[in-house]
Amino acid sequence: MAARSPSSPRSVVAEVKRFHLSETPFDTATLRAQLLDARVGAYASFEGWVREENDGRQVHGLRYEAYAALARTEGERILAQALEQFDILDAHCVHRTGDLAIGELAVWVGVTAGHRDAAFAACRFIIDAIKADMPIWKHERYADGDSTWLHPPQ
């Protein structure tokens, strides 16, 4: 999948990946640092954290399952669309998979721009698109012992 030219493996930069899946907790400070750039005036970020409660039910923990191949394609498509549609410098996103406890980070979006209008708008666009289109499913376990896949009407 990596776009390296076999004829000049050292001089060709690997295809930029802006979207990643992570099976383990990840560090937003490091991700933010990767977006540092002297042209940036505005950095907007969004994070989804696992809440102790969802729709009035007490959540004990959850699991995210992804169709990884399609998720990566969709993630790159969404971020490329944000770069085309908004006056921003860069945009990255990481989504967790696997088992998460209350308080854990589920998704991070980071956007850099010259000015804040575009940074906010693109950040919002990205998380909305991730929620709408990303082939990732949440399996919630509740305090009452019940558990279920979430398949909200689209």
Partner: protein, 80 residues
């Protein structure tokens, strides 16, 4: 006859009790393929609730199944 691999996720996988299977089908399009598999596994979800993907990209229900392809029926997502 088309040979393809079908992937199941989330509640579709729970219903099928498998996460993937090799299928042989004469279905003319992906909609007809879902109808076949829905009958076989008793999937509760109507096709209208799902999307379909082929080889890691969203596809159209009226696309014909391709030989050797990887097909996934995508139940309503809940990431983010």
């Amino acid at each position: 006859m088309t040979h393809a691999t079908v992937l199941y996720f989330a509640s579709l996988r729970d219903a099928a009790r498998i996460d993937a299977e090799a299928v042989q089908t004469q279905a003319a399009d992906l909609a007809a393929l879902y109808a076949e598999l829905q009958q076989r596994h008793g999937f509760p979800m109507a096709r209208e609730q799902l999307r379909v993907a082929v080889d890691g990209a969203f596809a159209r229900w009226q696309d014909a199944p391709r030989d050797g392809s990887e097909i996934a029926f995508i139940p309503p997502v809940s990431g983010g």
